[in-house]
């Protein structure tokens, strides 16, 4: 049975196609002003890559903050459940799933089937989400993709306030004026983010293994900070940004009667 999962996030739309439990294609697009177009394009590309037509799909499930914007989806699945289901399917030992996307961070405590037992979501400020690193990379005047590797070069920990993006940005500016090496500032940024995410996740009982999914899982600097602050290993599946879409596809399969 062929099914699709679509994750409409704040920044990207991601599509995953699954055939009898196997992931056969994935595709993503930046969410522009024309959101419906971005969704259609990503969907079309994923179908093409899989050599399928829309009619070949038995079921399509949407997730993400824009899940109601997918006109051709059969139903919806919440972001919380989708990330947990996808992560536990890829890392069966995971019992705590941390998902950090562009605008939101969340943590889930799950059972062996990937069913959510408890969850927390960050509140209000983007200081615990991907857009925070974007703002900080801008303040450091470096490309976004460099901030992670740069922070790995640092040997020094500098405390930083990450309760609020605006305050953090002015702190970065102060550090730049004090001629603090950029790698130390980059590490301070990731440490601050990690500690914010962990303080949120600790509201759950953190049960190992811990899996990290979402776009931020690609940032090596953040991952390093998270491991150090958590003082435990953090497992990351391949292509972590697609995990919620994959979770939605698994839900689609089970809703269409194909089991999970």
């Amino acid at each position: 049975m062929k099914v699709a999962g679509i994750d409409v996030g704040a920044k990207f739309v991601k599509v995953v196609i699954v055939d009898d439990g196997n992931l056969v294609s994935r595709s993503s697009r930046l969410m522009g002003f024309e959101q419906k177009e971005s969704i259609e394009e990503a969907f079309k590309e994923a179908l093409e890559k899989a050599g399928l037509k829309k009619e070949d799909l038995t079921h399509t499930t949407a997730t993400g903050s824009g899940k109601t914007e997918v006109p051709f989806a059969d139903d919806e699945f919440t972001e919380v459940s989708a990330a947990a289901k996808g992560a536990v399917n890829l890392i069966p030992s995971a019992r705590t799933v941390i998902d950090v996307g562009a605008e939101e961070g969340r943590a889930m405590h799950t059972n062996a089937k990937g069913k959510v037992l408890d969850f927390v979501i960050n509140e209000r400020c983007a200081a615990g989400a991907g857009s925070f690193t974007e703002a900080m990379a801008r303040a450091l005047e470096i490309p976004l993709e460099e901030i992670g590797p740069l922070s790995l070069k640092s040997k020094k920990s500098i405390p930083m306030n990450a309760q609020c993006v605006v305050f953090a940005e002015s702190e970065v500016v102060t550090l730049v004026h004090q001629k603090t090496p950029k790698e130390d500032i980059a590490r301070a940024i990731h440490d601050a983010m990690a500690s914010r995410i962990i303080s949120m996740a600790r509201r759950l009982s953190i049960e190992e293994d811990v899996a990290l999914v979402g776009g931020l899982a690609n940032n090596v600097g953040f991952v390093e900070s998270l491991r150090r602050e958590l003082n435990m290993d953090v497992k990351i599946p391949e292509e972590p940004e697609y995990v919620p879409a994959y979770g939605a596809a698994l839900a689609a399969a089970s809703r269409a009667g194909g089991g999970s």
């Binding site: 903050s65 919440t78 919380v80 459940s81 959510v116 408890d118 969850f119 927390v120 979501i121 509140e123």
Partner: protein
């Protein structure tokens, strides 16, 4: 899909609405009738000023703050007015709506803000201690009397502590006589005190009827009913209303009438809701989820006791126990003892009391989960709420938290809360009906 259970509109609904609106109208028009106006907290010993006569009209601040919050535009004006005046944004939002009304000289129910003849209150939380002190100043220096009730949880209360409060009430009566020039009538006090015992015990009886499946009442409707007890629990009007409502709810239980026809899942909430967004409760119904109430709706007004079978039921009134109440002192003493046993007064001293009561409700009202409002607008009732969450989870109840503010709509994110409800319902295996 057809509903599982029959539903019916409450017959007493319009009466509740009328009592509430007349209460605010009577307060505004009290002077024209030659009457007296007083204002104070909903936790105040409101039976006491009743001894001044039948033409004495109260205005309790918290329900006024809630009504103001419901009117988002006016509430925003009030909140901005207090901020402009220099008050911090994280103070009690009921209090800020109230102060804002004074500053703007606008009454939520129309016209100018009616100035009280005196202020009569008590302080159970830190905001209470300052609310009416500031109000007295903002209103140009009106007489103000505050009773200190912080004598500890009920299990620690002894004769000395009761005496401490009774003594303040005796002094308060002399003070009222002095500032109003009226002679105090003990018989009116005794009647008001007995009314309070009956109304608050009957409200608990009504809430206990909600243990039934399907629940005859949902929390959104209960807000419009319990509020009468926060306005004037000492009044005969409220006693009569609650007794009629109790009979109606009993009848609903006998006939299996549901508040939510597709009831499949039962939850409770906690603390005051974000008043400007009560539609969130209607959203829950799409999942067949009914909120049966909360410690807040049950225990702010309701008085409870553990019955012989170990379950919670309405507290036996002193009259039912055959206690004689024939003098001012006896009336005040019984009134103080009664109030100190109020569930919502206990957890100001430790979250443990609140957790125990919440777990009891979860068990006896057969709940599937709990929705906790991390209410930034009320330091009093949200005190220790994170501890309550852990205790409920340890007791095996799934908990969802959402952040908000009962009286400041700027601090509530409706879309995110709805997304959280979706995730929580999904984790409880509930599906949304089309």
């Amino acid at each position: 899909m057809a509903d599982k259970y029959p539903t019916e509109r409450l017959k007493t609904w319009n009466d509740a609405k009328d009592i509430r609106l007349n209460y605010y109208k009577d307060f505004a028009e009290a002077r024209e009738k030659g009457g007296i106006r007083w204002a104070g907290g909903a936790w105040a010993f409101d039976a006491v000023p009743a001894g001044l006569g039948d033409d004495v009209y109260p205005l309790t601040g918290e329900p006024y703050g809630a009504s103001t919050a419901f009117n988002r535009e006016f509430s925003d004006d009030c909140l901005e007015a207090t901020e402009k005046y220099g008050f911090a944004r994280d103070l009690c939002s009921y209090m800020r709506n109230y102060w804002g009304s004074i500053l703007l000289n606008k009454y939520t129910f129309g016209g100018e803000f009616p100035k009280s003849d005196f202020l009569w209150t008590d302080h159970i939380c830190c905001s209470h201690a300052k609310w009416y002190q500031v109000a007295a100043e903002l209103e140009g220096g009106i007489p103000y009397y505050c009773v200190d009730v912080a004598v500890g949880p009920d299990e620690e209360v002894d004769e000395n502590r009761i005496e401490y409060i009774v003594g303040q009430l005796h002094d308060g009566i002399e003070w009222m006589e002095e500032i109003t020039g009226r002679t105090y009538d003990d018989n009116r006090l005794i009647e008001a005190v007995k009314n309070e015992f009956r109304s608050t015990s009957t409200w608990a009886e009504i809430c206990a009827l909600n243990k039934a499946i399907p629940a005859p009442l949902d929390e959104k409707s209960m807000y419009s009913l319990y509020v009468l007890g926060t306005l004037m629990k000492h009044s005969k009007k409220v006693v009569d209303f609650y007794e009629e409502l109790r009979d109606e709810v009993k009848d609903r239980v006998e006939r299996g009438i549901a508040a939510v026809g597709n009831e499949k899942c039962r939850v409770m909430t906690d603390t005051q809701p974000p008043w400007a967004f009560l539609r969130v409760f209607r959203y829950l119904e799409k999942y067949g989820c009914v909120s049966i109430g909360s410690l807040y709706t049950f225990g702010l007004i309701g008085l409870w006791e553990v019955k012989e079978d170990g379950t919670w039921g309405p507290k036996t009134t002193p009259m039912e126990k055959g206690v004689s109440i024939t003098s001012r002192d006896e009336a005040l003493r019984e009134l103080v003892k009664w109030n100190l046993d109020k569930p919502e007064w206990q957890h100001f001293y430790s979250p443990k009391y609140k957790s125990d009561m919440m777990i009891r409700i979860a068990r006896e009202w057969k709940l599937d989960g709990v929705l906790l409002h991390y209410n930034r607008g009320c330091e009093g009732l949200s005190l220790g709420i994170a501890e309550n969450r852990l205790a409920l989870q340890e007791a095996g109840y799934p908990v969802m938290i959402f952040e908000g503010n009962m009286g400041d709509e700027r601090e509530f994110d409706e879309a995110r809360t709805v997304a959280r409800i979706d995730a929580f319902m999904e984790s409880l295996d509930m599906t949304k009906e089309a």
